[in-house]
Amino acid sequence: MSWEFFLVTLITIGVAFGGLMGTIAYLILVERRLAAFIQDRYGPNRVGWAGLLQPIADGAKFLLKEDVIPGYVNKTLYILGPSIAVFTAMAGFAIVPFGPVDQAPSWMRFVIAPDVNIGMIYIFCVGSLGVYGVILGGWASNNKYSSLGSMRASAQVVSYEIPLGMSIIGVVLMTSSLSLNDILMHQANQGVLGWNVWTQPLALLIFFVSALAETNRLPFDLSECEQELVGGFHTEYSSMKFALYFLGEYAHIITVCFLTAILFFGGWQFPLIAEADSAYLGATLVKVVVLLTKVLMIILLIMFIRWTIPRFRFDQLMNLAWLGLIPMAAMNILVVMTAKQFDWPIWTLPLGSLAIFVAAGLIGTSGKFIVSDQTVDFSESPEGYVHVHS
């Protein structure tokens, strides 16, 4: 623990934090412009050139607006809620590498906490605390809509943590390491065909869907759906406290996109320009840019999904997790374990994923399967509830 180490850590935290904050501000602008594009309108284009100063105007407005704390709220927990939301979202980023860690310049590392040997588990650990922000905010608001929103959110987040954790076990088994950088290097050393997306497509699907639910994004933003719950858990929040919830949510999304890029899309690896052994001048910069581009692509995909798929109903949401994703994730682990144990060739893994997917689809759409002595009918229920005939 020398002074240099301390200083380098501080610089890294500064770079990561500043970069994250600036990115979030402009992602909100991108999201608004994209939404406007999809809905055939202009979007915010008045402040600065083509709306480029809009985030600064938004920030100033958030800071300067009157900060209303309603008289009927539980004040301590009301203030604690957004703080926890931001804190957990930021802390989760600590072990995410945002560049080639081995080739980092001497004055900065590309990951804040490099020696956390529990890797992914740390992210789940911090993420599982994030639900407190939503629960406390909703409950402290002392408002029926907020309480309903926070209850939905907590049920949703606790349920979707399970498939999220199970989906990456396959990837971890392939690499024999929990560290994100090891997983990244394992893919980078094998070139573009070594990306986990080829060997673990089903895990990618489960991970991405669960991550959307974990971050309360559409189509899973049941906790704040405005038609039913006004604003959900943040109905009573105004000005900067509302902005903090927003900030936490976006930081969470960015972390999840980094994870997707690193776990499944090879991180900074890209054919020809950014291979594991490329060491030309500026290779480090190119690798960082490649990784950030991949992350940006995934964020844009999430934004497109927002305006493409309508919101789920709550029972559909729960059924998707417990009847769809969790059994599929369990089967996926089984397939990967078997393939590893008997040294099956690598191309059996995507076939296994496909087989599980097809089997799950057949079970889901054939409508009827027998649970002990009753028939559970998923297809012919007009209200979407599961009907049990005996």
């Binding site: 623990m1 407190y132 209850m151 009753q374 049990v388």
Partner: protein
């Protein structure tokens, strides 16, 4: 009397702890909890004095005091809160403190898993149930403890007994109470580099403790099957 003078630090601290818990308990007669909160730093300092002889590593000592203090504070306030939601939250804080102690003793995997399971899932379920069940404050007999004095005395006695037991088992002869870590390492724990890492924990679980793990797995499987058998709604009522 020899025994009392040997363990005077422990006894004084436990009495302090008990008095503090009694002062913090909600009661009908006394409105303010201020004396209890004023006594709190003294109690924490006493506990810290009893439990850790400085190891010389300032960072480590400081982290120990912070994590241990958080755990004790969380536990104290959990038992004495009137509002069940606050009690559940203080339980989560106590869990975080204990996990801090795990991290200091190089068991990060255990710490992370404890946070995921306890703070992230079990306490969330508590809070969930409390919010669903109790929209307004509970009735009068729910809001004050029924046997505060007896409960405090028994609790402190239990803590004291356990601490003395630990000291007799692991501790050297001549310490106030602290467990001598070097002795602990040599005698009972295998010294490995990856002791607390996921790999080390997994290897240990599936070699040294295989029987216990399989037994626990079987019990959990039985419980799961039972839950599946009981849970579904049937036309003629449940099983």
């Amino acid at each position: 009397m020899n025994w009392v003078s040997e363990n005077i630090a422990l006894i004084v601290t436990l009495v302090l702890l008990g008095a503090n818990i009694l002062l913090l308990f909600p009661s009908t007669g006394r409105k303010s909890g201020i004396p209890g909160f004023l006594l709190l730093p003294v109690t924490l300092a006493g506990l810290g004095w009893v439990f850790l002889q400085p190891t010389g590593d300032i960072v480590r000592d400081l982290l120990f005091y912070m994590a241990g203090g958080t755990a004790v504070l969380g536990g104290l306030l959990m038992t004495t809160q009137r509002n069940p939601v606050y009690a559940a939250l203080w339980f989560a804080v106590a869990t975080l403190g204990v996990c801090g102690l795990f991290v200091i003793n190089s068991a990060p995997f255990l710490a992370a898993v404890t946070i995921i399971v306890y703070a992230g899932a079990i306490v969330v379920t508590f809070v969930f149930v409390i919010m669903l069940a109790q929209q307004e404050q509970g009735s009068g007999y729910d809001r004050i403890p029924q046997q505060p004095f007896l409960a405090t005395v028994l609790g402190c006695l239990l803590v004291g007994t356990m601490l003395l037991g630990i000291e007799k088992t692991f501790g050297p002869e001549s310490s106030r109470l602290s467990v001598d870590r070097t002795a602990l390492h040599v005698s009972s724990l295998p010294v490995e580099n990856d002791l607390g890492s996921p790999g080390g924990v997994g290897r240990s679980l599936f070699t040294d403790y295989l029987f216990a793990v399989e037994l626990a797995g079987t019990v959990l499987l039985v419980a799961t099957i039972g839950a599946i058998a009981i849970a579904p709604r049937r036309p003629q009522g449940s099983l």
